[in-house]
Symmetry: D2
Subunit: 188 residues, 4 copies
């Protein structure tokens, strides 16, 4: 069994929708078990026990939500210190209502979480552009769902924009199964 | 007189259009003189003599065009070594036809040029979101014009998407006039 | 009078030392008034009233401390929405005890704060490499003081590493005086 | 057999030394075959045929060398368009003589190459901090060897600083063997 832990923060429910869609994608893969926790309630035990850590955030001023950052600083940090997570799997996703048509800040927001995952020693699963749903909700670093129009008129993340996170859930689940028990970073 | 040097690379003319629009914006400010050079022909003298250095690029794989990078490595690098440019003004812009609706790679592409400008010691002029035209062609780091639809159907950068670079040209010209002769980094 | 607001978070006092050194640098410039607030106690009024916003953080997993991020999300975000800060001045600094000799994560940590400042529309003051103290505590984006050796043996940020933040305080104070009342982003 | 292609640029031979060390690390893993090509001579065929693509660069102004960028723009770009590389393995390394003790620009330089690898759809192998040699030549994104002291006195990359790239070569070789033939991104 490969455990995929999805830790997310949400303001109006959009990132939560993406987390649920990611969850379903993981569920659809035999042998993979998704777990979903809000960042503020996420536990150190769940992180220590998972085979893949996935972070999802609303975009705020070009970086992740502070609740995700608190989770990183207070929980991930201690595990980094002890090299506990090395060789497991990591992935990220985000939603945002940034002004303009250029995904205001999404790329650096995804990166602000990825840097943590990479420091933990996780193997990073990107979102290839030929993934279904990428065209309306994708960046190379992970799914990105827009929850507003270019003038910030709130539309919410729609069905169409949940497709890429569903498929990324599948991809990450398969990666986790495939990489479970790997000896890539073995000291021998 | 404040000299604003615009160095750009272009594939199909889209970034060139934005450079021209930026040029017009600079021209519209009394006392500011724009100069435009293709990256491959840009001269060390022009960089050394300018009061503001502006870089414009097509987005390629999440970073600037190699011709911009060659200009940076072969010309800017030497000026960095000698601290020649410290205290002048810097800005960036880009165009791109990246797959998807999330400005594929534009943010890091702008940043790949900005890092050079910051290392040179330039004062960075951002693109505030209330700049005219930001909604259809803007990112916080500078104007970004999309030259294709979400499936990469080529449309070119249209008139509407040249508005933000025109206004950023004005902003940068004013900043250059305002900052000319500043003692911000004086050793006294 | 130019008000420079320094908002910082600190774990063991190292970033606080740098904030104090930055504060002294600002104080040394006639006409500049430094204000220092811990991120958790920083007020919206102080931000709205300042002429320059400076953020300082410990490096945690390659991004700023969550308390800085909370300040950004809950206070800066609302000011961004209303374009209140456009045209003022911004700068950043950090301290860190990251494992290794390569300033583990400092560059992206500085950037995770800068992105917020740029979205606010602040004019960014870099740290030129010829600034006194840069050799032992500097990155292009701002002062960076190491508080530990390469194996994380805690040394604290020493006197020598406070020099660059003192001088950056001076530079930012001068920039703020020079730019106060500028019409760079005027709509006319 | 798993083919690991190392594409590098070098100015004074330091990045080349790291490439050779990486090469030896790959060679030490049974079933893995390293191939080494200078960026200017690298061929599209070699990229298309490899199972892992590794990029190594000197740090120039906070991004990769222009020759690496030219390789990315002219060769990788076309493979991206056709989704040819999806699901293979990617990694990066760098050397630098940047002024100061904070690895001037190394982090964003590694990232400027990684963005390309992620767009290609490669699975990214990080450098965990418990990798041998990380303390003197490591960043979370990959090995980083300093070739100069803090005042840019040229020392070259020494033996001690080649240890992390040797071990990362091993790690990447194992990852490539482990991931060869994976169905992670399968459309079924």
């Amino acid at each position: 069994m490969a455990k995929v832990l999805i830790v997310y923060a949400t303001d109006y429910g959009n990132t939560k929708k993406m987390a649920e869609s990611f969850f379903k994608g993981v569920s659809s893969v035999k042998g993979a078990e998704p777990i979903m926790q809000e960042a503020e309630k996420a536990s150190k035990e769940a992180v220590r026990d998972c085979d893949a850590l996935v972070l999802g955030t609303p975009v705020h001023m070009g970086a992740c939500d502070w609740r995700i950052k608190k989770f990183i600083d207070t929980i991930c940090s201690a595990l980094w210190m002890k090299d506990v997570m090395v060789g497991r799997v990591g992935a990220v996703f985000a939603s945002g209502s940034g002004f303009g048509n250029s995904a205001g800040g999404a790329e650096l927001a995804l990166l602000s979480m990825l840097n943590n995952l990479v420091e933990l020693g996780l193997i990073i699963i990107p979102l290839p552009k030929n993934t279904e749903g990428y065209d309306v909700a994708g960046l190379q670093w992970g799914p990105y769902g827009r929850s507003a129009g270019i003038h910030m008129e709130q539309t919410g993340v729609g069905e169409e924009q949940l497709v890429s996170s569903f498929h990324h859930g599948k991809q990450v689940a398969r990666a986790t199964l495939h990489l479970k028990g790997n000896k890539i970073f073995s000291k021998e």
